[in-house]
């Protein structure tokens, strides 16, 4: 039981980290900070605009795979993985 609880706590910590990044790249860089970031250029893209229409999506994909990978490790560590 204690093992399951610490598994869940570590899962929550991972989710918190992932959702913080999720929030920063989309709502942060793509919306709230778009004006200052637009002063920086990435080729023909203004950086804020790039995050809103390209960068946030790439980050989302990477986040899901990273979380999935970390959870598989966590499952094994706490011996709760599927047989």
């Amino acid at each position: 039981m204690e093992n399951n609880h610490s598994y869940w706590r570590e899962n929550l910590r991972l989710i918190f980290i992932c959702l913080a990044i999720w929030f920063v790249v989309s709502f942060g860089f793509g919306l709230l900070l778009v004006e200052p970031l637009n002063e920086i250029r990435l080729g023909g893209y203004k950086l804020g605009f790039w995050f809103a229409q390209q960068g946030s999506i790439y980050t989302f994909v990477a986040l899901i795979f990273w979380y999935s990978h970390q959870m598989n490790k966590l499952d094994k560590k706490h011996n709760v993985e599927e047989s």
């Binding site: 598994y7 989309s26 793509g30 203004k46 809103a52 946030s56 989302f60 795979f65 599927e82």
Partner: protein
């Protein structure tokens, strides 16, 4: 029959023949096959199927057009419709898969030990899904009538027949494997014209890079800078900064679409088809890869289509196209009534400005941008034929997924779960096939006679999912003590406040002039538009649920045990009957 029509017939009917062949090969034999494809779909396959399921006629046809005219403001759709998958992968899918049931209302009923909760969920699901199907059916009708020049009604009928054959025959199993094929068709159809156009305009074949490159005309000007300059010259807002009603509205809109996406039952139920919890997590990732392929190309398609359109009508500053010399695609779309020109000053030239009094492009329907794009860029006929097949694949695959969500919730949740619990498996299978047939007929009828409120209800579907289903599921997983009574009150409050706001703006049941509070200022709540209100509804849902929980006490201990159990992956079998 000209060359274009011949190619289109080959592309469309060739792809239909392939769907039939797949459906026959993957026909369903049991309820498990029918509802969750026997639980044996691999994460990559499931990712592709989710991609096709998710990307509807709206993503394929409308989204790039929306971005073309909204510019930076269109980002809400790009971030909103992809960011939801992050929430799904981390907050919902693995735990719901572990619980191992067939439908979303069934999960809600188990977790909240309540038939009322199950019925509320079924009602939300049917409203959300049916409004979506109407849109798909309209897409099928438009694609047929524009490209094959058959009657709109006949085109709709053919589309209904095709969906009926493989959805009713194959259930989830047939639909999943057909959707994999449909994904391939639609992604090729979307990216090939984009590659051609990007190459023409910038010399870079990858649209995502082309959008950030310099123009190929030797001027050395970046494409986006040129676009900003062209649209501001004509008085429109700057493309890369036009912000759709302010930062707060964009924030709420994006959040609403994200949690709405994560709460749409026809997407969630796809995660019941994979063999285990690990596969549920990773298939959300694969799904987003396949979706991102289209969603990162869409902004390039939108910007490039806008630039091509502007350059056609205003070849150089202060110089306007003669109406008599308009290109063929302009005439083709004028026939459909989606593009309208009115010579207001009588000079025979086309003036295109942001000023309503002098603008002569009276109507430029956003939906034509993707379909007309290949013709505007003078691409070969086989590319245009491919776009027609791709649009149909997008519409049909989404319609099939939605039909399955409806039929399973009626036959499994309403009949087997509540009304006639002693239904045998064979009869349940028969019942879901009959329900599916009826749903196709209803959707076809509504596609032929679209109710006046059809356009507004898509926003309502996302609002419902965001304000009711998503919070209920999330609290059910992350709060062990959340009780059935509190969750139901939360759902009712969330839906209630969202519907009130939408109806106040658009009329009760979208009938104009019936706003019950009279002349209130538009978007009065901090400038948030009705489409963006789902996020506020979700907050209300959370707040009310926790307040009621505080007063009425926690869920019983056997339910808390159930939650403990689905939080850990070990012991997940194939999704099963009770």
């Amino acid at each position: 029959m000209d060359e274009l029509q011949l190619y289109t017939y080959i592309a469309v009917f060739g792809s239909f023949a392939m769907y039939f062949a797949i459906a026959w090969w993957a026909r369903a034999g049991s309820t498990s096959d029918f509802y969750v494809a026997g639980g044996g779909v691999t994460p990559v396959q499931n990712g592709m199927a989710i991609g096709a399921d998710w990307m509807s006629a709206a993503s394929f046809i409308s989204m790039a057009g929306l971005i073309a005219f909204l510019g930076y403001g269109g980002s809400v759709f790009l971030m909103g419709w992809t960011g939801g998958y992050v929430l799904l992968a981390m907050l919902l899918a693995p735990y719901m898969r572990k619980h191992g049931k067939f439908t979303v209302p069934e999960f809600i009923s188990d977790r909240y030990y309540s038939k009322t909760a199950r019925i509320v969920a079924v009602v939300c699901l049917i409203i959300a899904s049916l409004t979506y199907i109407i849109g798909q059916m309209k897409g099928v009708g438009v694609a047929f009538s524009r490209f094959l020049e058959v009657d709109y009604g006949l085109g709709l009928g053919i589309g209904m027949a095709v969906v009926w054959v493989y959805a009713v025959l194959g259930g989830m199993k047939g639909i999943t494997y057909t959707q994999i094929a449909q994904y391939c068709v639609l992604i090729f159809a979307y990216t090939i014209p984009a590659v051609f156009i990007s190459l023409q305009l910038t010399g870079n074949p990858i649209p995502q890079l082309g959008l950030g490159s310099t123009l190929a005309d030797g001027s050395g000007v970046y494409l986006l800078d040129k676009l900003d300059q062209v649209v501001t010259d004509l008085g429109f807002k700057e493309y890369t900064t036009d912000n759709l009603g302010g930062t707060l509205n964009m924030f709420a809109y994006t959040l609403s679409l994200m949690i709405g996406t994560a709460g749409l039952p026809h997407v969630i139920m796809r995660f019941f088809t994979v063999p285990n919890v690990q596969a549920a997590r990773s298939s959300a990732g694969y799904a987003l890869v396949f979706i991102a392929l289209l969603y990162t190309v869409a902004p390039a398609v939108g910007a490039m289509a806008r630039l091509n359109l502007m350059n056609t009508i205003v070849p150089a500053a202060g110089e306007n196209l003669d109406y008599a010399e308009r290109p063929q695609w302009f005439k083709d779309w004028e026939k459909t009534g989606l593009l309208t020109f009115e010579d207001k000053n009588g000079d025979g030239k086309i003036q295109y400005t942001s000023d309503k009094a002098t603008n002569e492009m009276v109507k430029v329907d956003r939906d034509i941008m993707v379909l007309a794009n290949p013709a505007i860029a003078n691409l070969p006929n086989w590319v245009i034929a491919l776009v027609a097949a791709g649009g149909l694949a997008a519409a049909l695959s989404t319609a099939a997924g939605l039909l399955l969500a409806i039929s399973s919730s009626v036959s499994h949740d309403l009949m087997k779960g509540v009304l006639t619990p002693d239904l045998s498996e064979k009869n349940e299978l028969l019942a879901s096939r009959i329900v599916m047939t009826i749903s196709i007929l209803v959707a076809g009828y509504l596609g032929l006679n679209p109710p006046g409120f059809a356009a507004g209800t898509v926003a309502l579907a996302f609002g419902l999912a965001a304000s009711s289903i998503f919070p209920a599921l999330m609290m059910g997983i992350f709060s062990k003590t959340m009780s059935g009574r509190a969750a139901i009150w939360g759902m009712v409050a969330g839906i209630g406040i969202t519907m009130l706001y939408v109806f106040q703006h658009k009329g009760i049941m979208f009938i104009p002039g019936t706003s019950f509070l009279g002349g209130m200022e538009a978007n009065w709540f901090f400038g948030i538009s009705p489409n963006a209100f789902g996020a506020v509804g979700a907050l209300v849902n959370f707040a009310v649920a926790f307040a009621v929980l505080k007063v009425t006490g926690p869920a019983p201990s056997n339910i808390q045990q159930l939650v403990e159990n689905f939080r850990i992956p070990r012991g997940a079998g194939v999704a099963h009957e009770h």
